[in-house]
C-alpha cells in the first residue's frame, strides 16, 4: 500500500479515502440518529408523560434495550436483510443503508429511555405548577416538554456518541468493504487486527476529534454559547 501523499496509515491509502471514510461515518451515524430521534423523542416524551397499566414493564424493557449489544443488533438486522432473509429481496445487506438500520436499532431505545427519564423528572416538578397556573392538560404537557429540551438534546447527543463509536453492528451488516462500507470504527478494527496499533490509535484520535467538533457544534446550537 502506497503511503506517498497519503495520511500514512496502512488501511487508508490517500487523504481522499480517509475523507470518504469520515464522511461515510458521519452520514451513516447522522442519518441513524436523525431517524432514531424522529421516533425516540416523541415516544420517549409520551412514555415520560403517561401513566398507564404496564408502564413499568415498558420502561424496564426500554432500559434493557438501551444496553443492547451491538453484535446482537447487527446479527438481528443481518438475519433480516441477508439474501434468504425476510427483507433479503431489498438488496440492502452490505450497504450503508443496512448500517443505518443497525445503528437505528441501537440508538432508538437510548433516545427513548433518556428522553422518558428527562421528561418524567421535569413532569413531577413542573406539571403541578403549570396546572395551578391555569394550564389545560395539553398546555401543561407542552410546558413540561419545553423544560426538558436541554435533556432531550443531551439524549440525542448520547445517541450520536453511541452510533459513532459502535463497531459490531456496522461490521456485521456493512462488511467493512473498502470504498463502500468502511467507516472509522471498522477501519480502526482492521488496523488493530493487522497489528498496526499506532495507526489504529491515530484513527481513534481522528474519531475523537470529530466527536468533539460535533458535540461543540451541538452545544453551540443548543445554548448559543461558544
Amino acid at each position: 500500500m502506497s503511503r506517498k501523499g497519503g495520511p500514512w496509515l496502512s488501511a487508508v491509502s490517500s487523504w481522499s479515502e480517509l475523507g470518504g471514510i469520515i464522511l461515510l461515518s458521519l452520514a451513516v451515524s447522522g442519518t441513524a440518529v436523525l431517524l432514531a430521534s424522529a421516533v425516540g423523542v416523541p415516544l420517549g416524551s409520551l412514555l415520560g408523560l403517561s401513566r398507564f397499566r404496564g408502564r413499568p414493564l415498558v420502561v424496564r424493557a426500554t432500559y434493557t434495550l438501551m444496553g443492547l449489544p451491538p453484535t446482537v443488533a447487527g446479527l438481528a438486522v443481518y438475519m433480516l436483510l441477508r439474501a434468504p432473509g425476510p427483507l433479503g429481496g431489498l438488496g440492502l445487506i452490505f450497504t450503508p443503508a443496512a448500517m443505518v438500520i443497525a445503528q437505528w436499532v441501537l440508538v432508538t431505545p437510548i433516545i427513548i429511555g433518556l428522553v422518558a427519564a428527562a421528561v418524567e423528572d421535569k413532569d413531577r416538578r413542573f406539571r403541578e405548577t403549570a396546572v395551578l397556573l391555569g394550564a389545560t392538560p395539553w398546555q401543561a404537557r407542552l410546558l413540561v416538554l419545553r423544560e426538558a429540551r436541554p435533556a432531550v438534546f443531551a439524549a440525542v447527543v448520547a445517541g450520536l456518541g453511541r452510533a459513532m463509536a459502535e463497531v459490531g453492528a456496522v461490521m456485521l451488516v456493512g462488511g467493512n468493504i473498502r470504498w463502500e462500507t468502511r467507516v472509522m470504527t471498522t477501519a480502526i478494527l482492521l488496523e488493530t487486527r493487522r497489528g498496526n496499533f499506532g495507526d489504529a490509535l491515530v484513527l481513534g484520535g481522528v474519531l475523537l476529534v470529530i466527536g468533539f467538533l460535533l458535540n461543540s457544534a451541538i452545544h453551540r446550537f443548543q445554548t448559543g454559547e461558544g
Binding site: F126, L132, L133, E147
Partner: protein, 249 residues
C-alpha cells in the same frame, strides 16, 4: 355552596395515605377579603389541606366547596380548569420556568388567552410592586431564592384570583423579602379582596398578616379564631402548648 360570604370551605374533609388518616377537618371556611393562617407542627396536615383545596389531591371523604363547584375527587375537565383558574398557589420552594422573569409572570395570563399591551402593563405593575421590574428581562434561573419567590407571588397575583393559597411562602427568606411579600399580600387583599389561606410556622407572621388563624394538630382542627385571640388567649390547651413552643415544629 360555601356559607355566607365564604368563598371556599372544606366540609367533613378527610385524607388518608395507605390507610393512615393525615387530615380530618370537620369544617373550615375562608371569607372574601380575609387572610386565614393555618398553623401547626410539622406533619399536622397543613400542606395536605392546601393541596386538597387546590384539587391537587383527592379527598378520601368529604369535600371542598368553591362557589358552585364541589371537589370530592371528581370534576369535569372544564370545571377543574375553572376551579384552578380562579385560584393561585404559591409553594414553599419557588418553581420558575425556563425564560425571563417577565415570561414567567406573563405565562399565567397567556395560559388564559390574555396578552397584548394591557396584560403587559399589568405584569410590569406587579413586577414593579415586588421590586423586580429592573430584572424583568433577566433569566429566571439567575435569581436568588427570595427574588424567585417574589416572581411566584407576582405570577400568583397577576390573574387576580378569588382564592390565594400560600404554603410557607417565606420560610427560607430574609426579612427584606418577607416584608415585600407580606406588604404585597396585604395590598392585594385591600384591592380586589381575595380569600387567602396561608400555611405558616411563623406565629409572628400569622399575627402580622392573618385576620383569623386555625391550628391543626395531627390532622385535626384544634381551634379556629381571630388571630390575636387565638395566640394570646387560646381556649384549647394544645393551642396554648403550640403557642408556647412546646410542640415540635
Amino acid at each position: 355552596m360555601p356559607a355566607g360570604d365564604e368563598v371556599m370551605c372544606a366540609v367533613g374533609l378527610k385524607k388518608s395515605y395507605d390507610g393512615r388518616l393525615v387530615l380530618d377537618v370537620e369544617r373550615l371556611g375562608v371569607r372574601r377579603g380575609e387572610v386565614l393562617a393555618v398553623l401547626g407542627p410539622s406533619g399536622a396536615g397543613k400542606t395536605t389541606l392546601l393541596r386538597l383545596l387546590a384539587t391537587l389531591e383527592e379527598p378520601s371523604a368529604g369535600e371542598v366547596r368553591f362557589g358552585d363547584l364541589v371537589w370530592a375527587g371528581r370534576l369535569s375537565p372544564a370545571d377543574l380548569l375553572h376551579w384552578r383558574r380562579r385560584l393561585s398557589f404559591v409553594p414553599q420552594n419557588p418553581v420558575l420556568f425556563t425564560g425571563t422573569v417577565r415570561f414567567n409572570v406573563e405565562m399565567a395570563l397567556a395560559l388564559r388567552g390574555r396578552d397584548g399591551p394591557a396584560a403587559s402593563d399589568e405584569v410590569e405593575a406587579l413586577l414593579d410592586r415586588v421590586g423586580l421590574l429592573p430584572l424583568a428581562g433577566a433569566r429566571a434561573g439567575s435569581l436568588s431564592t427570595g427574588e424567585a419567590q417574589r416572581v411566584c407571588l407576582a405570577r400568583a397575583l397577576v390573574t387576580r384570583p378569588d382564592v390565594l393559597l400560600f404554603d410557607e411562602p417565606t420560610a427560607s427568606l430574609d426579612p427584606a423579602n418577607v416584608a415585600i411579600i407580606e406588604e404585597t399580600l396585604r395590598e392585594a387583599v385591600r384591592g380586589w379582596r381575595p380569600a387567602v389561606v396561608i400555611v405558616t410556622h411563623n406565629l409572628f407572621q400569622a399575627r402580622r398578616v392573618a385576620d383569623r388563624a386555625a391550628l391543626l394538630v395531627a390532622g385535626k382542627l384544634v381551634e379556629v379564631g381571630e388571630t390575636d385571640r387565638l395566640l394570646d388567649r387560646p381556649s384549647d390547651p394544645r393551642t396554648a402548648a403550640f403557642v408556647r413552643g412546646e410542640m415540635v415544629y
